[in-house]
């Protein structure tokens, strides 16, 4: 009986000794083996935590992300003795990064981001020690990073009419927030996703195309209610001005066909006037007369 109690006590002490938390040893200890990482680390934004000298050990240098290194040093390395991102679960990765990066408004929706829910997390896009670009520590140039998964979007940017992403004038993040966005104020349902919003929670198109923003005395209601992509493709198109259709009148008439959805005539969209004989070519280019199609201050039919 005594032997049994002693054995239990020894086992308990041993277990407690194993549970003893690893201790912080400081980033200097890491230099010895990880010289290649350390050599350029002063260029890394995370170096700020070391330079300031004011952060607590759990938020400083290597151990700020990788956790206390005491056990790792004692074991002469190994992924089991330290917080290694390569073996972390996606959720652990997000938790670790948000410990510091959660304070930014741009990441306020990261928990409900479609990327996070699909297990696409920080380390999938950011490379802390081997980044291709100094800003934001991206693993690759931004558009190439996004194209890796969004191949159909890549094809759209290769079309003759497109926003200038491949040319370097724009970036995906001009319109999207990969960390998650607030609920859209246009459209219904789950689409679109990760779309960042312009100043007053409108579509990001209006960040640049401010002349389309209004407010107008006469709004083109479909633009305001369901957004620019009612008529335009945002990435690229085979048609002029990123339109859904090569000919303007088909685009317009698919809605303005008198169908009963909303409006003032027949409780439906305004139907083409009998005065517009579509066999006459001049009535096929609707915007030749309805020049203010995005909204007008002076004319309810967008003529001026």
């Amino acid at each position: 009986m005594v032997r049994l109690v002693l054995a239990l006590l020894v086992a308990l002490v041993a277990a407690r000794a194993e549970d003893k938390p690893s201790e912080y040893v400081g980033s200097d200890a890491c230099k010895t083996c990880h010289a290649d990482v350390w050599f350029n680390f002063y260029k890394n934004p995370h170096y700020k935590s070391l330079a300031s000298g004011k952060e607590s050990p759990d938020r400083t240098g290597c151990e700020g992300c990788h956790g206390p290194g005491g056990a790792h040093v004692a074991a002469h390395g190994g992924k089991a003795t330290i917080r290694a991102f390569s073996v972390m679960s996606p959720r652990e990765t997000v938790d670790t990064c948000l410990a510091c990066h959660g304070k930014d408004l741009s990441r306020a929706n990261i928990r409900r981001s479609q990327h996070t829910l699909a297990d696409v997390v920080c380390s999938n896009c950011h490379s802390i020690h081997k980044s291709a670009v100094p800003k934001f520590l991206l693993a690759r140039k931004q558009s190439e990073l996004c194209y890796q998964c969004h191949a159909s979007v890549r094809a759209q940017f290769s079309m003759p009419v497109k926003h200038r992403v491949n040319e370097g004038f724009m970036q995906c993040t001009d319109c999207h927030n990969p960390h998650g966005a607030f609920a859209t104020t246009w459209k219904d349902g789950l689409k679109p996703r990760l779309v960042d919003q312009a100043q007053i929670n409108e579509e990001p198109c209006l960040k640049c195309h401010t002349d389309k923003r209004g407010p107008f005395a006469f709004e083109h209601a479909s633009v305001r209610v369901e957004g620019c992509e009612t008529c335009h493709y945002p990435h690229g198109s085979m048609n002029a001005r990123l339109l859904h259709r090569p000919a303007v009148f088909t685009l317009c008439l698919e809605c303005h066909n008198g169908a009963g959805t909303f409006g003032r005539e027949n409780n439906g969209e305004i139907r083409l006037s009998p005065a517009h004989n579509l066999l006459d070519p001049r009535f096929r280019q609707c915007t030749a007369c309805h020049v203010r199609i995005h909204g007008s201050n002076a004319d309810p039919t967008f003529l001026r």
């Binding site: 170096y47 700020k48 070391l50 330079a51 300031s52 679960s89 996606p90 306020a108 928990r111 829910l117 699909a118 297990d119 800003k135 190439e144 890796q148 191949a151 159909s152 094809a155 759209q156 079309m159 491949n166 040319e167 370097g168 004038f169 607030f182 104020t185 219904d188 349902g189 789950l190 100043q199 007053i200 401010t210 209004g214 005395a217 006469f218 209610v225 369901e226 009612t230 085979m238 002029a240 001005r241 088909t250 698919e254 066909n257 008198g258 169908a259 009963g260 959805t261 909303f262 009998p274 005065a275 517009h276 066999l279 006459d280 001049r282 280019q285 030749a288 004319d299 309810p300 001026r304």
Partner: protein, 668 residues
């Protein structure tokens, strides 16, 4: 070490890049780790060269699609300076990158300057030379040849502290010549071209801050936006208009239509992220307002050939207050499960007064007062969950419900008939569900499957999403320098309403491969097919005298094949060779020429627009020779070919363009 950097550079430069313009050169120059100067480290590279282009065919379309011209350029530059101990006196880091300076159509400069703990300043400046002939839209009469300049400045004080302050400024201007059209005397009258000198300006000022208290992050931001347009319109003299059979003529025309407005806005956000839960709440308010006036005088003859003059004066204002609120609550009960619920409210009321005065000597003065109102209120609630069943298997799902109310009121007071008010109201409920799985059977292989379905009971317009579903799947294999992926996605929508039905089916397939076979050789290839077919109901008139209403279908078929191939070689660490080829081809419904003889006039004008087969291809080749560690010589050629199998409205936009450059890439 050099081999490591070479391999890294090769991998980075070759993986899944869509066909980029041939210049600037992506190869690095100079010591990868930079040079130490005093307490700082500097890494820099500058590429200066000459770009050339030669266009055969429709130059307007080339300028709309590509737009690279001739001349000397600072094609690209990168400059980084870092404090080696993170305690610089005035700054710890400066990062400056530029692109296309010196007259490329797409220019940019991005600057970041920061000192740890004290400030961070970000600047982005961009210029886009936008040229669009709008040939298929308005036969070239809505041409744009403008420049858009964008700049953003953001200064954050104490960026690592618990109390932070932010100041920002953005400016967006669009200037340049353009064409426009106007319709005069009556709505079926002829259309006349106008010249406009576009002048639009938008300024935004921001002031805000962040506060961290007991783990709660509070953000506030106040914005002011001022915008205006004072584009002048000019008429180039007497004209018979676009339609020679129409008797309308214009001998004199003048229009002035300036507007200006402001959009002040507030944002407040509270956010906390704890071990077992997180919450995020946001409130925003913005009150947009604009004032405008239009003064227009037209003299000529009307559609029956009688002399007519008309003066129109319109004045008024429009406002749009927008309020939004969001609340997200995340529960993290275990390491395997996360559940997020989000509720959002959006409310806006767009109102406008527009007083229309028309003086026609024949009919005396007409005065119309328009008042328009468009209101939208949307309430949305969504729940999403992610469950990690095992290390290699994750399930996700979600449900969203939204309730949207749209109201409008069109008020017309036409003297002497009296007021008329037309009120409309509609409520739409949308229910959407999402299911997904991520499976990693072996370490390098990932399989993603998603399904989404949505139902709306009162879509806003005939082509809105109503009965909608999306399916997608993606398989990716990634091991060391090899990346293979393939996938499929479909979006189907069916919107059957009172008298028409709309059906849209979009399917896309893709396959990508990227492989860095050796430290001196890399491949990248991709293929995508994007299919779209839509059928919608059309109702239109085909005889102005008899007002004959035709009801038929709008059919549109697009089958786009997009391919991209790139190969990169490094020869003896001295020369980099890159060759690439990109093609995007829409085969439409299979026709390569306009339809054969169609006797029905309605079919005759609908059939040519049901499909728009064309191809756009661009081979390129580039060589970069290392002269020494700090200097490279580069040269490249890129060919563009745009070909329509048959043009719309008989306009041929085809072109071929030879472009290229030669440059020196250097580091000091």
């Amino acid at each position: 070490m050099n081999r490591l950097f070479l391999t890294l550079a090769l991998v980075l430069a070759s993986t899944l890049c869509a066909q980029q313009p041939v210049a600037p050169t992506p190869e690095p120059v100079g010591p990868a780790r930079g040079d130490n100067v005093s307490e700082y480290n500097i890494v820099n590279s500058f590429e200066t060269g000459y770009r050339f282009s030669s266009i055969d065919g429709n130059e307007g379309k080339y300028r709309s699609d590509v737009n690279y011209g001739n001349g000397l350029r600072l094609l690209a530059s990168n400059f980084t300076i870092n404090s080696r101990d993170g305690r610089g006196r005035f700054f710890d880091e400066i990062v400056l990158t530029t692109l296309g300076l010196g007259n490329d159509p797409y220019e940019s400069a991005v600057l970041r300057v920061q000192k740890n703990g004290l400030y961070r300043y970000d600047m982005q400046w961009r210029l886009d030379d936008y040229y669009n002939p709008a040939l298929t839209i308005s036969q070239g009469q809505h041409l744009y040849d403008t420049s858009r300049r964008l700049q953003d400045h953001d200064l954050t004080l104490f960026p690592q502290a618990k109390i932070r302050f932010r100041v920002g400024y953005s400016r967006n201007s669009q200037t340049g010549p353009a064409l426009n059209t106007t319709n005069v005397f009556d709505i079926t009258g002829d259309v006349f071209p106008l010249f406009t000198n576009v002048r639009r300006l938008d300024n935004e000022y921001r002031l805000g801050g962040d506060l961290d208290i007991a783990g709660i992050k509070i953000t506030w931001l106040h914005r002011w936006e001022d915008f205006k347009e004072d584009t002048p319109f000019a008429f180039n003299g007497p004209s018979g208009g676009n339609n020679p059979t129409d008797l309308t003529t214009l001998s004199s025309f003048q229009r002035t239509a300036p507007y200006h407005g402001t959009t002040p806005g507030w944002l407040a956000n509270l956010h906390t992220d704890r071990k077992k839960w997180a919450a995020n709440g946001r409130f925003t308010y913005a009150g947009g307002r604009r004032d405008y006036i239009l003064d227009e005088t037209a003299i000529g003859t009307n559609s029956i050939g009688l002399n007519q003059s008309r003066q129109i004066v319109v004045g008024g204002d429009a406002s749009r207050p927008v309020t939004t609120g969001d609340l997200s609550v995340t529960v993290l009960p275990t390491q395997r499960l996360s559940i997020v619920n989000n509720s959002s409210l959006y409310d806006t009321r767009i109102t406008g007064n527009s007083e229309y005065l028309e003086y026609d000597p024949a009919s005396a003065t007409t005065s119309i007062l328009f008042f328009n109102f468009l209101g939208m209120r949307a309430i949305t609630n969504s729940t999403a969950a992610n469950f990690r069943a095992s290390k290699r298997l994750t399930f996700r799902g979600g449900y969203q419900y939204s309730d949207r109310l749209i109201r409008s009121n069109e008020y017309l007071n036409i003297l002497p008939d009296g007021p008329e008010s037309i009120v409309a109201e509609q409520t739409n409920h949308t229910r959407s569900g999402l299911l997904g799985v991520r499976w990693q059977p072996i370490q390098p292989l990932t399989v993603n499957l998603d399904a989404e379905i949505s139902r709306a009971d009162r879509p806003f317009y005939p082509i809105s999403d109503r009965n909608y579903h999306a399916l997608s799947g993606r398989i990716q294999y990634r091991k060391k320098s090899l990346l293979l992926s393939t996938g499929y996605r479909e979006n189907y929508n069916n919107n059957s309403i009172q008298i028409t039905a709309y059906s849209s089916r979009a399917r896309s397939y893709f396959a990508d491969a990227s492989w860095t076979a050796r430290s001196w050789m890399a491949f990248d290839a991709s293929y995508s097919r994007l299919h779209l077919d839509t059928i919608g109901g059309l109702a239109f008139f085909t005889s102005s005298s008899l007002a004959q209403l035709d009801q038929t279908q709008s059919v549109y078929i697009s089958n786009i094949h997009a391919g991209n191939l790139g190969v990169r070689f490094v020869l003896r660490k001295l020369a980099d060779l890159y060759t690439g080829y990109s093609i995007t081809r829409d085969v439409g419904d299979g026709r390569s020429a306009p339809s054969s003889v169609v006797t029905d006039p309605v079919s005759g004008f609908l059939m040519p627009v049901q499909t728009f087969p064309l191809s756009f291809q661009s081979p390129l080749a580039r060589v970069s020779i290392k002269i020494n560690n700090r200097l490279r010589w580069n040269a490249g050629w890129q060919y563009y070919r745009y070909r329509e199998d048959f043009g719309l409205i008989t306009i041929n936009q085809n072109y071929r363009a030879q472009t290229g450059y030669t440059s020196l890439l250097w580091s000091f």
